[in-house]
């Protein structure tokens, strides 16, 4: 299996679809079931859409975790405006979509590991991982 990370640059909505697809294929190769594939694709979608909406451009890096636990890692990185209040952004019901469970807290739920680093005016880096059971 090809375990070189796959980078998808995000500039427009079409890129969001490419990132999803890349993530889903990688998840499938790794042996994730249908539901998990859909979950991973949804998480990528949310992250890519945030880049597209708030940072204008950035990238999604999808790679294989080949350690003790196997899984998939998604990194969403941009040099956009950053997120001022991370605690707020991670709160349920805070998203502009009005608390339908999506957004960053949704990504955290869809995945097993979630980490976010963001500096105002410098950018945002989100790492989310999901392991095979």
């Amino acid at each position: 299996m090809n375990i070189a990370p796959n980078r998808v640059e995000i500039h427009n909505e079409w890129d969001i679809v490419r990132a999803r697809q890349s993530g889903r294929e990688r998840a499938k190769e790794l042996g994730f079931g249908h539901v998990d594939q859909a979950r991973i694709a949804t998480a990528i979608s949310e992250l890519a859409r945030n880049i597209y909406l708030y940072a204008k451009h950035g990238e999604i890096i999808i790679s294989v975790i080949d350690g003790e636990k196997r899984g998939i890692s998604i990194i969403a990185e941009d040099n956009g405006p950053g997120i001022r209040d991370l605690r707020k952004a991670m709160e349920d019901g805070y998203t502009t979509s009005g608390g339908l469970g999506a957004g960053l807290p949704g990504v955290k739920r869809l995945m097993d590991d979630f980490d976010i680093v963001s500096e105002e005016g410098q950018g945002t880096k989100i790492t989310a991982k999901k392991y095979l059971r």
Binding site: H34, V35, D92, L100, G101, A102, R109
Partner: protein
């Protein structure tokens, strides 16, 4: 979480039963299953995925388009699953908040429920009930060495938690007043300064402060915009308004409060309350003050505590057991 295999077997069994002998009973089993799923926190997309897996087992050569349709549905369900999980989390948070509020309400009750002093010459009755969990009403009795009784009743405009927090401050300010309270006007002036300094300008507090002098049997009192109480004269057998004028606390730090006085004869009553009593709303509109007088009159042969309890019960019933505002009613009746 329950085991995936177990879940699969269970769902498979129920689904096959239904496909083969479709009946209301098999559907009912499906409903029970969904309850069990939810109790175990299983997301909708997981249930759908079980369904797809069972169907695939039965129709291994499923039409490809048909299978794609399932995939599409699964994708669409992911969002519902997230909303479901968020709902669970918010429900958990709500329960936590509620238990925090319960604790706060207990703490507040222990602040609010002061001891009611006992006198031979005076029969005192009090009832205070919050509209929600926490109250913005406050009352307070202090008996001093000269056998004088000071009585205070305050009402924070607004209700719920903000009013309750504000009320706690009043309680603290009252407790730091010197023991010798001789001048009701001065007490209010003091409190007014505390409130003006410490409370958000959008909050107002009304207060009645009275000092009952035993040797003179006279009530000295002042009011900071508080709902006027009643004075009952046993001589004339008549209820009068206990009028006292003054601005609400917290408006202006230099406010002065005028002092009033009233002789209290044997059998006379002083009735104090918060506006939760007069703002009781029934189908016919607000309760008239006359109506409250009538409710008290009906019970005048009873003890003060029985009167306030009885009036509360009656007003509670009149508004279908839903208090709209914090309710406090105090009656002082001179016995001898």
């Amino acid at each position: 979480m329950i085991d995936h295999k177990e879940l699969y077997q269970h769902y498979r069994k129920l689904l096959i039963e239904h496909m083969e002998r479709k009946s209301e009973k098999t559907l009912y089993n499906g409903q029970l299953f969904s309850r069990q799923m939810m109790e175990n926190g299983v997301s909708p997309e997981d249930v759908l995925s079980l369904h797809i897996d069972v169907i695939k087992e039965f129709y291994p050569h499923m039409d490809e388009k048909f299978q794609s349709a399932f995939d599409f549905l699964l994708e669409a369900m992911i969002g519902y699953g997230l909303a479901y999980r968020e709902h669970q989390n918010l429900r958990y948070k709500q329960r936590q908040l509620e238990s925090e509020i319960d604790i706060a309400a207990d703490v507040q009750q222990s602040l609010l429920v002061g001891e009611v002093p006992h006198y031979d010459f005076l029969d005192i009755g009090v009832i205070s009930r919050p509209a929600k969990r926490m109250s913005g009403d406050y009352y307070h009795f202090v008996k001093d060495e000269q056998n004088c009784l000071s009585v205070a009743i305050a009402d924070v405009i607004g209700k719920g938690i903000p009013a309750a927090l504000c009320m706690s401050m009043i309680k603290y300010a009252m407790d730091s007043e010197p023991e010798q309270r001789t001048k009701p006007g001065a007490v209010l002036e003091n409190l007014n300064r505390v409130v003006e300094q410490n409370v958000d300008p959008s909050m107002f507090i009304t207060m009645f402060y009275g000092l009952y002098n035993e040797s003179q049997h006279r009530l000295y009192f002042a009011s900071a915009g508080h709902e006027p109480g009643f004075y009952y004269s046993s001589n004339k057998d008549e209820f009068q308004e206990l009028i006292a004028k003054g601005r609400v606390l917290g408006l202006d730090r230099s406010t002065k409060y005028r002092e009033y006085e009233k002789n209290i004869d044997v059998g006379d009553m002083v009735i104090l309350f918060s506006d939760g009593v007069t703002e009781c709303r029934t189908e016919k509109g607000f309760i008239e003050r006359d109506e409250i007088v009538r409710l008290i009159r009906q019970r005048m042969h009873l003890s003060s505590q029985e009167i306030v309890d009885g009036v509360y019960k009656e007003l509670e019933r009149l508004q279908d057991f839903q208090l709209r505002d914090d309710f406090t009613l105090i009656i002082l009746k001179r016995e001898v």
